[in-house]
Structure formats: structure tokens, C-alpha cells
């Protein structure tokens, strides 16, 4: 479409035609991201809701399953994600200051930590596969009295951590894009909106994990 139609308006570099100022554009992007994260909360909320209902129905079965979760790996993953949130925050800070090298460094660190998380998650999934803890016709459970209800928990486990891992994979893709963009000098201290936005996203995904870890791994270890 012909940009000449923009009329009498003169735009600063990086401000899209329909915004008046860079500030308006940035505020729109930020608010947009927050609203998007709200939808994400509702998305995971459906699963957390189902989890709550079933845990209330079958507390013993759910507690028993947590003994088959690999708490060590889950714990390491929690630490990895917390660290990655820290490096992501530093990356956003670097973006704010407009220092390209630091930005790329922290983005790469975050990316690496994200990949470490996913690799460990893969090891855990593999364990579950070997142990026949994947719901479906091959499902087995040592404690026969909890067979059905444990299967429901593992169904929720895979749905919730799977959705979370999917968000991590998307996050890794976004980080890669950011690194490429940063390397091509696309960001400056005045315009680093994508870094800030993906930072928000990354923190959100971490927070989801902070809820998943105790609910799935630790519930049976309280008594």
C-alpha cells in the first residue's frame, strides 16, 4: 500500500505509520504483551483448574505419583530457569543501555539456559517413557490401586509440562531471532521494544514453572 497516503505526518525512524510517537508505540506494545500474558494465564488456568479438581478428588493417588517424579532433575531445572530469568533481566538492562555486546552475551546465556532446561526435560520425559508412565494403552503403575487416578495425574503432568515446554521452545526461537536482530544492529537505547517484550514473555514462562514444580513434584513429600 502506498505509504504516501500517510498525509502530512512526519515520522521518526522506527515509528510505524499509524502511531504518532515512539512512546505511544512502545506503550501499545507493552500493554499488548501484558494482555497477551493474561490470555496465557487463562490458558494454563484451564489446566490448573482441572488439576485442582482431580487432586481434590484423589489426594492419595496424586501424592503417590509425586514419588515417581525426578525431584533432582526438576529442582535443577527450577534453578536453571531462575538463572535464565536473571540473565534475561540483564539482557533487557543491556538493551536499555544500548550496549550491543552485553545484550548479545546475555541473550545467548539465556538461550543456553533455555536449551539446558529443555534437554533436562527431555531426559525426564524419556524416563517416563521407559517406566511406562506415559498415559495411554502402555501405561503401567506400580501401585495398582491408584492405576486410573495416577494415569490422570500423568495426563495432566504431560499436558501441563508439555504446554510449558512448547512455550519454552517458542521462547528459544524468539531469543534466536533477537540475537540475530541484535547482531544486525537493529536495536538501540531508544528502540529495544522486542527485547523488553520477549523478556516479559520469558519471565512469564518461568513463573508458570515455579507453580508446576511444587504441584507436580513435591506434593507427596510433605508428610
Amino acid at each position: 500500500m502506498a505509504e504516501t497516503d500517510a498525509g502530512p505526518l512526519v515520522h521518526a525512524a522506527g515509528v510505524r505509520h499509524h502511531f504518532d510517537t515512539a512512546e505511544q508505540q512502545f506503550e501499545s506494545a507493552t500493554l499488548g504483551m501484558w494482555v497477551f500474558l493474561l490470555t496465557e494465564i487463562m490458558f494454563f488456568g484451564g489446566m490448573f483448574g482441572s488439576y485442582t479438581v482431580y487432586r481434590n478428588m484423589y489426594p492419595d493417588a496424586f501424592a503417590s505419583t509425586s514419588h515417581f517424579m525426578n525431584v533432582t532433575l526438576g529442582g535443577i531445572n527450577t534453578a536453571v530457569l531462575i538463572c535464565s530469568s536473571f540473565t534475561m533481566a540483564l539482557a533487557v538492562r543491556a538493551g536499555q543501555l544500548g550496549s550491543k555486546k552485553t545484550l548479545i552475551l546475555f541473550l545467548i546465556l539465556t538461550l543456553v539456559l533455555g536449551c539446558v532446561f529443555l534437554s533436562i526435560k527431555y531426559v525426564e520425559y524419556h524416563e517416563k517413557w521407559v517406566d511406562h508412565h506415559v498415559p495411554g494403552p502402555e501405561f503401567r503403575y506400580a501401585d495398582s490401586r491408584y492405576f486410573h487416578h495416577a494415569q490422570i495425574l500423568f495426563f495432566l503432568y504431560f499436558a501441563m509440562t508439555g504446554m510449558h515446554a512448547l512455550h519454552m521452545i517458542v521462547g528459544v526461537g524468539l531469543l534466536t531471532t533477537l540475537i540475530v536482530m541484535a547482531a544486525r544492529n537493529r536495536f538501540s537505547a531508544t528502540w529495544y521494544t522486542p527485547v523488553e517484550m520477549i523478556g516479559l514473555y520469558w519471565h512469564f514462562v518461568d513463573v508458570v514453572w515455579i507453580f508446576l514444580f511444587p504441584l507436580l513434584y513435591l506434593i507427596g513429600h510433605t508428610a
Binding site: 500500500m1 502506498a2 497516503d5 500517510a6 498525509g7 502530512p8 505526518l9 510505524r16 505509520h17 499509524h18 502511531f19 505511544q24 506503550e27 501499545s28 500493554l31 499488548g32 494482555v35 497477551f36 493474561l38 490470555t39 496465557e40 487463562m42 490458558f43 494454563f44 488456568g45 484451564g46 489446566m47 483448574g49 482441572s50 479438581v53 482431580y54 478428588m57 484423589y58 498415559p135 495411554g136 494403552p137 501405561f139 486410573h148 487416578h149 494415569q151 490422570i152 500423568f154 495426563f155 495432566l156 499436558a159 504446554m163
Partner: protein
Amino acid sequence: MTTTFEPRSIEERANYLNVDYGWKSWLFTTDHKRIALLYLFSITAFFLIGGAFAVGMRLNLVTPGGLFEADTYNKLFTMHGIIMVFFFLVPSIPAVLGNFLIPIMIGARDLAFPRINLLSWYIYVTGGLFTITAAFEGGVDTGWTFYAPFSTTYSNTHVILTAMGVFVAGFSSILTGLNFIITIHKMRAPGMTWGRLPLFVWSHYATSIIQVLGTPVIAITLVLLALERVLRAGIFDPALGGDPILFQHLFWFYSHPAVYIMILPGMGVISELIPCFSRKAIFGYNFVAFSSVAIAVIGFLVWGHHLFVAGQSMYASTVFSLLSFLVAVPSAIKVFNWTATMYRGSISFETPMLYAFGFIGLFTIGGLTGLVLATMALDVHLTDTYFVIAHFHYVMVGGMVMAYLGGIHFWFPKISGRMYPEGWAKFAALVVFVGFNLTFFPQFLLGYLGMPRRYHAYAPEFQVLNVMSSAGASILGVGYLIPMIYLFWAWRHGPKAPQNPWGAKGLEWEQSPTPPPTFNFNTPPVVTEEAYNYAEEAPLG
């Protein structure tokens, strides 16, 4: 209407329609107005498909034995419901009229995220293709409600493909809502305060809240449903320890607020039409505006009224019943305010106003019969009967589609730069009104007599009313086809529209050229007065 059509001096002035030609200029556009038209055509296509299924249903029900096989009929009503709800009613007014008008009404050059807006259309079409594919592959027979365990374990039709279609289309709805919220917050022109927003914008703001908060829940619910169909692990299957009622709770947590996604934008349209054709400011602006938000908020807390006979605790049912009555109050406030707006007005009867009258009448009946259903002891008898069918068709078709047609006629000159033939339009409005009532009023009676919904065959004593309903449906069908024909004709051959054919207020008529240029305004708009300031002369152009 006696407006004379002055020849415009700037006959071939550049506007969003003639600025560029060729399919690329449409399929890769980020102009909200062109995207609105993409939606208009795809939504009309889905309306025709969903309508064809409805024709099949009404045909089947002419005789008590049913003309088709049971399975055929079951697929017909399922596909009718899914297509009409998720691919017509939910997107219709927001994605077409909202998309076209919200930026212009608030004085913006586009929505906040134009590329996401285009993306949402592609997502919508992709979801639609999934669903249409499922239909052609043999269809799906779960009902649009996908109740477990029938949908997860017993149905052997294309449940997963259809569910994925709805899942995908949901993201289109989320993105549209998100775009509207940010646009309304951040893109308003100087002087366009919250208290001056057109009520159309307020109602879309409320709609967007529901879209953004509700749709993700149905999305994840459908994912769980599809996973369960593959794994048979029992999440909704009682034979394996699951709870089928949990599915109903999750489903209605979205799907009840979704009916407000469908009706609120219609209320927004009516709130524009009545002041314009009464030449009078809306009565009780604040109440009409906040009642939209109230509906959106309370609407999230009433889903349990779909489960009065499903084994829900009677105390939970009591609370849901009370809240269902409460949500009727803001709707009533709107109806009363619209009526009061007409008091001492200067009322004219162009086609959009006829649809507005139709809306008030049919929505009132639809709303009051909703009270019948919110009354628990009556719901026990009436739920899952034709009374429910009639009730929500009065709201959805009688309300929402009337508003949609009224809005399409009202803004047709804006969108196309042409006038539609007023005589035909009035005739069609009358046909739709008569056809609608003949189709759906008998269904209230059928419902109280006890005819359950989703029956391909029925007891002989129900035949008279069913034949009446089918006869009405054929009239209604004709009523819908007439506007499609003359609007299509008028798009090419209608007389050129003046700048402001209705003498309407609002930035879209007063400050944006008809049809608008790509960035909506030639000079940046400034707002200096309240909405609906009809006491002062509007430029008739």
C-alpha cells in the same frame, strides 16, 4: 429518506478501495478496512454454509419420522452449531464492523497491531478450513458442545479435526480482542476521552475482555479433549476415573461468556442506530456504557446455569441462578435507555432503524425467556428442549443478526461509497422479521410441550408446530438472500453515497471522508464534543 445525491467534485478521490488493485493488495493488506472486508466475505460464506445446514435440519423435521438418517441429522445440527457459533456469530460484528469502524470512530489511522490483525484473518480462515474439511470428510456428530464422554470415547466421527478448527479459530478471536483493547486504550485522538467514546466502542471493549479472558479456556479444553481421544487416559471418562462434568464446567466457562461476545457488539450497533434515527443523544450514556462492562464481568460467573440438572450441588445451582438474574439487569438497562432515547426525538424509519426496532423486540423476548430458564424449577423442565433453542435463537439470530444487518445497512455507504436500494431493503427487513418469528416462536411452545432438542424424529403431536417452524425458516432464508443480492448489486451500481447520508454524528461520518482514505483522515481529527450531540446540526455533506 429524501436526500438528493449531489455529484461529488472529487469523484475519483483516492480511498482505501481504489488506492490499489489486484489480489496481492488484498491478501497482504494491513489496512483494517480491507481486512474487515476480507472478514465480511469469509463470514458471509460461513453464514451460507451454516444456513445450508439449517435448511437441511428444518427440511428433516417436516415429518415426525425425519427425512434423513439419524446420523445425517446429527451431523447437520452439529455442523450448523459449530459453524454458526464459532465462525459466524463470534467474529461477525467485531471482525467486520468493529474492525472497520473502531479506528475511525476513535480517530486512529489503524488498529494498534495491523499485521496481527491480518494474521487473525488468516488464522480464522485456517480454522475454518479445518472445520470445512472435517465436514466434507464425513462430518462430526457430537453437537457443538462436544460433551464428554460421548465426544472422547463414543463418537467415531472427525472430532479431533473439528476441535482443532475451533481451537485455531479461537486464536483469531483472541488476537482481534487484544488488538481492540490496545487500540482503544492507546490510539484515541486528542479530545476522545473515555466519556466521549461511541457506545459501539464501549461494547467492543467489553466484548474484547471476554474474548481475551474466555477463549484461552475453551482452547485448552479442546486440547485436553483431543489428547483424551488419542490417549484414552480417562481425563473426562468416568470409566477411568475422570469426571465428565468437569468438561462441562470448562466448556461453559467460555461458552456462556461467549454468548455475550455474540450479543454485546450487536448492542453497540443498536446504541449507534437509535440516537442517529431519533436525532437525539443517547439517554443515560454512562449507564449504557458501563452496563456493557457489567455484562462482561458478571457473564463470567453464570456458567453453572447450564448444569442445573447435571448433578451440580443445589447450593451451587442457587448461586448461579441468582447471578443469572443479576446479569439480566444491565441488559434491561440498555433496552430501557434505548426506548427512553426515542422519547421526544425526531424519529425516521430508514432500514437500519427498522432493524433496530426488530432488535429491541426480539431481544426483549429472548431476554425475558432467559429469565424463565434462569428460574431453576422451570429450567428442570425446559433445559435441553426446544424452549432453549428458541430462547437463544431469539437472542443470537433475532438480536445479533438483526443488529448485524442493521449495522451493515447503516455503514454500507461508508464502506462502499454507494447507497443500497431503500425499498428493497425495507421489504427484506420485513421478510426477515416475519420469517424469524414464524420459525422460532413455535419452538417456545414445542419446548414447553416437552420436545427435546437434537431429535431427528419426534412424537406425532409435535408436527404442526414443527411444520410452522420449517415454513418460517423458508421465509427467513429468502429474507437473508434478498440483502445479499441487492447489496452485491449496489456495491457496483448503487448511486454514489453522500458524505453523511443519515446526518449521523461520530468521527466516521463527520471527519473521515466517505469512503475513507487508507489512513482514514485527511487531517488529524480532534474531538471537541460529547458523543451523539444531535442537538447541533451535523454536516450533511
